[in-house]
């Protein structure tokens, strides 16, 4: 009897400390989650609602008002041909976000398909596919991306293709590793014994199990893909200069920065950094929820 009371007291004494630790961790998660979600929400609303609601022409040139610093009429100032930079930034964000999301989704689909095929087939097919992945990984992917865009006329789709074709490798590795570890589980043995074909085993049992990992990899890749678009456009290889994207805006503003005009570079820069950090923050919270141990493995 005495023993049980001592035991009980011990557990109640230990509990608050443990709880407090848990709550502290959770509250930082919640703060990060809320801030990130709010920023992503604002970004998505801005790119979806501003163009149809605000009937202003982002291409409207006003040579009388070129390179004006921020004023009430032009909160972000104007660029070297007098176009409103706030409007240009919103349109640029729209293009960059589109490129980022489409490229990340395409890369994830390719990576998941390749990784799942290699993992499910095993043997020489697996070895051949993974050596190809290793070979492609050994080439710097910005260089490979530059090579791919150089084969097409400048435009949105070459950039999407270039980013997608150079970014499926890490997803393929993650998915293959997951599939390999799942393949040796008894529930796969049970499926084989129950007459499941290779295809059914993969589609019914393996892919649903790797989907959360693949989805997370896709979200983590969106900011990365946006940065790639900006890098390619900045190098003059991505989008044509008249198409507003965050990369082309920053590229076009290079000259005026040296003349002391900071606004054409600063605002597109903020528009690039804030949404990418917000998306990365959301993905980070998600990653820690589904898999607290694998932080380092999923770094993209």
């Amino acid at each position: 009897m005495a023993d049980t009371t001592v035991e009980k007291r011990r557990t109640t004494a230990a509990e608050p400390a443990w709880r407090a630790h848990g709550t502290a961790r959770r509250s930082t998660h919640t703060l990060r989650l809320r801030v990130s979600a709010a920023l992503v929400g604002v970004t998505v609303l801005a790119v979806l609602l501003v163009p149809p609601l605000v009937q202003l022409d982002q291409q409207a040139v006003d040579l009388a008002a070129k390179l004006r610093p921020p004023t009430w009429a032009h909160p972000f100032g104007t660029d070297d041909v007098g176009r409103d930079l706030l409007l240009r930034c919103v349109y640029g964000l729209r293009v960059s976000l589109l490129v980022g999301v489409v490229a990340a989704l395409t890369a994830t689909v390719i990576g998941t398909a390749v990784g799942a095929t290699a993992g499910a087939l095993g043997g020489w097919a697996d070895r051949a596919v993974m050596r190809l992945v290793d070979t492609l990984s050994s080439v710097p992917h910005l260089l490979l991306g530059v090579f791919i865009v150089a084969m097409f006329r400048p435009g949105v789709w070459p950039v999407v293709i270039s980013v997608a074709l150079t970014h499926w490798l890490s997803t393929a590795r993650i998915v293959r590793a997951e599939v390999l570890s799942l393949r040796s589980r008894p529930f796969i043995d049970a499926a084989v014994s129950g007459g499941a074909s290779r295809w059914r085993m993969t589609v019914r049992h393996l892919l649903p199990a790797v989907l959360p990992q693949a989805g997370l990899a896709a979200v983590l890749m969106v900011p990365h893909a946006m940065w790639h678009e900006s890098a390619l456009s900045f190098l003059g290889l991505g989008l044509p200069t008249h198409t507003a994207s965050l990369g082309t805006l920053i590229q076009g503003a290079r000259g005026s920065l040296l003349a002391g005009q900071w606004w054409p570079t600063l605002f597109p820069g903020i528009f690039l950094i804030v949404p990418t950090l917000a998306v990365a923050g959301l993905a980070g919270v998600w990653r820690e929820r589904i898999n607290p141990r694998r932080r380092s493995e999923l770094m993209l």
Binding site: A190, A191, S193, G194, M201
Partner: protein
């Protein structure tokens, strides 16, 4: 007739888990395989169920030599074996409801029309109530999940049952219930049974014949025939 002849199998050719093991299960016979943990009896059970390719040796099913394992094995031969594993948590796809778990072999072999009749029938046989069938594996107990796994093993009416430590995780009453289900099935279909375990009391009562692992690997299993293996205590 299920004949394992001089099977050597494992996960590393230099250190096989099973070396030179031989065992025969006659049609309708129940054979219990006893052995200490880690001796390789589960690996041998997987070889017998066509789930693990042996490095050497022969497996004969009704006199025909098996040449292909896992997906390469003909589907009719693969599904002639119903397998129940030791840990139901690992043997059940965590995303499937119990009804889908039991129905999965029917769907995988293109017998969707049987799902409606066979699933409730088997659930009744193994003692699962209807409300449990809509739950997922993490929402039921080990015993309930193992009942579902047994139902899944029986759903294609296999000619051989391979029970790998089927009752190791279960309490006495669930053990008795599941053994009774297996025995009823065998009595009505004449299926053979290979039960692997380390509970010699249970296997002696359950099976027509129990064989100790040492006898399997020394080749004595074929000579001793029936009765209890002499001289060994399962560690």
């Amino acid at each position: 007739m299920l004949e394992l002849r001089a099977i050597t199998a494992g996960y590393d050719r230099r250190a096989p888990a099973v070396r030179d093991a031989s065992l025969t299960v006659a049609p309708g016979e129940a054979v219990g395989l006893l052995g200490p943990s880690g001796c390789g009896k589960s690996t041998l059970a997987k070889v017998a169920a066509l789930l693990h390719r042996p490095d050497a040796g022969t497996l004969l099913v009704d006199g025909t030599r098996v040449r292909h394992w896992r997906h390469r094995a003909p589907r009719a031969l693969r599904t002639a074996f119903g397998v129940v594993f030791q840990q139901p948590r690992l043997a059940a796809d965590p995303r499937l409801r119990l009804a889908d778990l039991i129905a999965e072999p029917l769907r995988a072999t293109g017998r969707r029309e049987d799902v409606r009749d066979r699933v409730p029938e088997l659930a009744g046989t193994v003692g699962l109530t209807t409300d449990l069938l809509t739950r997922r594996p993490h929402e039921v107990s080990d015993g309930q999940l193992q009942r579902a796994c047994l139902a899944r093993a029986l759903v294609l009416r296999p000619r051989w049952l391979i029970c790998d430590e089927m009752t190791a995780m279960l309490d006495a009453s669930t053990t008795a219930a599941l053994v009774a289900v297996v025995e009823d099935y065998r009595a009505s279909t004449g299926a053979g049974l290979l039960a692997v375990g380390h509970d010699r009391t249970l296997l002696n009562r359950w099976c027509d014949r129990t064989v100790h692992w040492d006898a399997v690997t020394s080749g004595a299993a074929e000579k001793t025939g029936g009765g209890e293996p002499a001289g060994h205590v399962t560690r």
